[in-house]
Structure formats: structure tokens, C-alpha cells
């Protein structure tokens, strides 16, 4: 671990002031940052501890939604009565991720800003454009089991590892940030970046900008939803592919609106408005769900080791849509798949 200066902020304004003008990282739950400090992947000269910021609340918003404070833990968020009752898709996705110990420390803001689990990113002896811009990408032509099939570039094929973010994408959340030039809101679909030719930037945060909260809209798809996560073991592993689905059905059982987001396949939770539009006004059916899957996976390419993900994702999308339409969401405790 590199040596660094440590500063503790009492509120968001102070955190942003302390952040100016140095290679710094905010410290929230520490579950990703401390790991990356130990690996020498992150080498800030200053760590600004934001744990004491008064941003741990979960409160109602004026438009009938819910505001999740950036410093609320993943565990407190998943088990918050309002989240469980109105946004069970989010609860389920959070509980599918990491372990109870990690979720007790990990925060909502930290979850959004956690970095990729690409093994070459973690290995400082490997070339990696995300870690060391311009050095190349060891994953291309390397071991690609966990890498992207959508939206990647020749500069980087990493995926965003979060489960929570896949649900937030389907729920169309808004990220609230505060920075040196004031406050702004970012639609969740725009928050994470595709790698393009600058994979070193994971998201739209400018230098010194702090996530203060995540706002959920009033629609929570509480009746017809699922979070289906497929991984190499049944617990405590990152997704190979995951699917978050929220559907609203009318009285005749037809789909009024549908949201589908994929995890484990791209640099960001993957959504395709054209695929979602196919669901509108339709009765749930296997044929329809296959059509949606094909539309979502349009342009998917494998890199050898991750070729299997294309077919895995297709099957997962269909299964998840069926679970959501039937109102039988995937259990995060009893994960056996028949």
C-alpha cells in the first residue's frame, strides 16, 4: 500500500472542499477502496473519509419516490421496510451481492463507484488501459470468462461488477451529486460510461464530485419483478450474467410497461429501450420473451472465454421475464434452479 494523507469530512461541503486539487479518493465503506489500496491499483495521495457525513438516511421524496442516502449501507437499504415493500427488485439485487459482512460495511455511493473485477486490472504487472491509460489491454486475447459481450471497445472489455446497479438501472433511478460547481442530477442510464477510447473513467463524475443520494421514482414494479443472478457458485460470487426485470401488467394480464437490465455483460448495466418497447401492450409469451432477448443482445460479441455468455444471457432473460410475469421472483435464499 502506498502512503497517503488522511482527512475526515463532517459534511458534504467539507468533503468537496477537501477533495480539491489532489489525487484523492473518498473512503466510504472501504470494501473496495481498501482492497485496491492493498493491491497498489489505487494510489491516491489523499484519502478523504466521508463515513461521518449525514447522508445515511432513507426518506420519501416529493414526487412519491424514495431517496437513498449515499452513506446508507447496502444492508440497511436492502432491509429497509419501504425498500422491501415498494422496491423488492432492489432489495433482491442487493441481497444477491457480496456477503452479509460486506453489505454491512458497503454503502450505496460506494457500490455505484466500485471498480471492475477484471483480473488484469487488479494485477499491476499486466497491461491495462483502465489502470494505466495507453498501456494496452491484457484481457483481449487473455482469459475472458468474466468479460463483456456488449458495448466494449478495443481499449477495454471489462464489466461493471455491481448487482445493485442493475436493479437501479431497471428502476430508472437518478444519481444526485455535489461538486465544486454545485449540485446536479444524473439519470442512471447515463451514469456509467462505456469504455470507448478512455476506459480509465468509469462514470460521469467529475474530479471532486461526491454522490450524495440515489432517488427512486414512485414506480417500483413491486408485484411483477425478479432479479436472476447466474454465477460460478450459488453464493458470494460476482455475476456471470444477471437480469433485473420490472413489469407492469393491466387487469387483462397484458404488459403495460416493462424494464429489463442486464448485469455482468458490459461496462454498465445494459438496457435497450427498443427491446423494452416490444413488451408494451403484449400478453406474456415465450415467443415474445425470446424476441426481447434477441433485441437486447443485438450486437453481442464473445472473446472466446466468454462466448458462452451470449446463450446464457438469452436463456436468463427469457427465464427472468417469465418469473416476473408470473409474479414468482427468484429467491436469493433458495437459489436452486430446476
Amino acid at each position: 500500500m502506498n502512503r497517503f494523507e488522511y482527512a475526515r469530512a463532517a459534511d458534504a461541503g467539507e468533503a468537496v472542499r477537501l477533495a480539491s486539487g489532489s489525487a484523492m479518493r473518498f473512503l466510504a465503506g472501504g470494501t473496495n477502496l481498501v482492497d485496491l489500496l492493498k493491491e497498489n491499483v489505487e494510489r491516491p495521495t489523499k484519502v478523504i473519509d466521508i463515513r461521518r457525513l449525514p447522508l445515511a438516511g432513507i426518506t420519501a421524496t416529493d414526487d412519491g419516490g424514495l431517496r437513498l442516502g449515499a452513506l446508507a449501507t447496502n444492508a440497511d437499504t436492502a432491509w429497509h421496510p419501504e425498500v422491501e415493500a415498494r422496491y423488492p427488485l432492489l432489495s433482491s439485487a442487493i441481497l444477491a451481492g457480496a456477503s452479509p459482512q460486506l453489505r454491512n460495511a458497503a454503502t450505496n455511493g460506494g457500490n455505484l463507484n466500485q471498480r471492475t473485477r477484471c483480473y488484469y486490472f487488479y494485477d499491476t504487472a499486466a497491461a491495462c488501459n483502465k489502470r494505466e491509460p495507453g498501456s494496452g489491454c491484457s484481457a483481449i486475447g487473455g482469459v475472458t470468462r468474466i468479460h463483456a459481450i456488449l458495448g466494449s471497445s478495443e481499449a477495454c472489455i471489462a464489466t461493471h461488477p455491481s448487482d445493485m446497479c442493475v436493479a437501479l438501472a431497471a428502476l430508472e433511478a437518478t444519481v444526485r451529486v455535489q461538486g465544486p460547481s454545485g449540485e446536479r442530477s444524473i439519470a442512471f442510464a447515463d451514469y456509467h460510461r462505456l469504455p470507448g477510447d478512455d476506459p480509465s473513467r468509469d462514470n460521469q463524475l467529475a474530479d471532486g464530485e461526491l454522490v450524495t443520494a440515489i432517488d427512486l421514482p414512485a414506480e417500483g414494479y413491486a408485484t411483477h419483478y425478479t432479479y436472476l443472478k447466474l454465477r460460478d457458485r450459488l453464493s458470494y460470487a460476482f455475476a456471470l450474467v444477471s437480469v433485473a426485470v420490472g413489469l407492469r401488467l393491466d387487469e387483462a394480464g397484458r404488459i403495460v410497461t416493462g424494464r429489463v437490465a442486464l448485469g455482468g455483460v458490459a461496462h454498465k448495466p445494459w438496457r435497450e429501450p427498443r427491446a423494452e418497447a416490444l413488451l408494451e401492450g403484449q400478453a406474456p409469451s415465450q415467443a415474445l420473451f425470446l424476441q426481447v432477448a434477441d433485441s437486447l443482445l443485438l450486437g453481442a460479441v464473445g472473446r472466446g472465454g466468454n462466448d458462452f455468455k451470449i446463450e446464457l444471457a438469452r436463456k436468463a432473460i427469457v427465464r427472468a421475464l417469465r418469473q416476473a410475469a408470473a409474479g414468482t421472483p427468484q429467491s436469493q435464499t433458495d437459489k436452486r434452479v430446476a
Binding site: Y6, S99, Q101, L102, A105
Partner: protein, 175 residues
Amino acid sequence: MDTRVHSPAAALGDSGIPITLQLNGFSHTARVEPWVTLLDLLREEAHLTGTKKGCDHGQCGACTVLLDGKRVNSCLQLAVSVDGSAVQTIEGLAESGEGGGLDPLQQAFMDHDAFQCGYCTPGQICSARGLIAEGKARTREEVRELMSGNLCRCGAYTNITDAVMSVLQREGLAK
């Protein structure tokens, strides 16, 4: 608050940032460099070696302690950042049972032979204590899922689940 003092200020070095923890009920003062983890502070400075260093990267659960009553991986916490918190380790649990004896979970682990090498056991027991406090696990399946942050290489999982279930049953929390 408990006002017992564990390490006298005079014994401390003079570099680093001063912090105070409530450590197993004792007030513990130390000076730490910002990059020292809570796990290293517990083992190297406070000589509480019950908490084990397994992977040191949040992947095995051997370093699990209760931080302000909640189970966390102490290898991923910077000691400076938990200044002012209460920390309970396996040594603290050992005095928390009836009449200052073993925690019922510790007895249950012995009764059910829930360990082989013992390296993962302190973390398993601290994690189980946290699980019971969270109140979300009532069935075997739920115990298995909510103990999944603790890996045991020798595969004592079945007996660990038995031990945790027996305590949940005793406390009337099992379904």
C-alpha cells in the same frame, strides 16, 4: 459506558493519528498510521490474535468482528476510520455468556464439532453472532445463505449450520 482502560496512553508511540476504540468493553487508545487496518491493529497492537488473517481481501470471512454490533470484515476497515466505535472480537464473546462464560455459540460449535483446523472458526462464530442479531435467518437454508461470507476449507459447513441452528432454536428464533 465502560470506562475500563486497556492500554495506558503512556505506552503509545508518538507518530500516527490518535484513536480510541471500545474494544471488548475496554477503552483502547492507540496511534495509528492511516493505512493500518483494523485487523492489523487488533492482532499486532492489541495482541488479540483470535481474529484471523486469511485472505486479507474480504473474500474469506476469517477476520469477521462486530463493529458497533454489526459483523464486518476487519481486513477492509482502516483503523483510523473506525475511531470511536465499539469492536467485539472472539475474545470478547468468550466472556459474554452467562456468568462471564463462553458465548452459547462457542459452546454449540464444540458440541456439534463445527470445526477442524480452527482457522476460520473465530470468524464463523462472530459472523453467527451478527446473523442472530440481524434476525433474518430462521431456517437452515437462510442460515446457509447468511453464513456464506465465511469460507471453511475443510468443509465443516454442515456441522456449523447445526451449531447455529441449535442456538437459534434455544433462543426461540428458529422456524
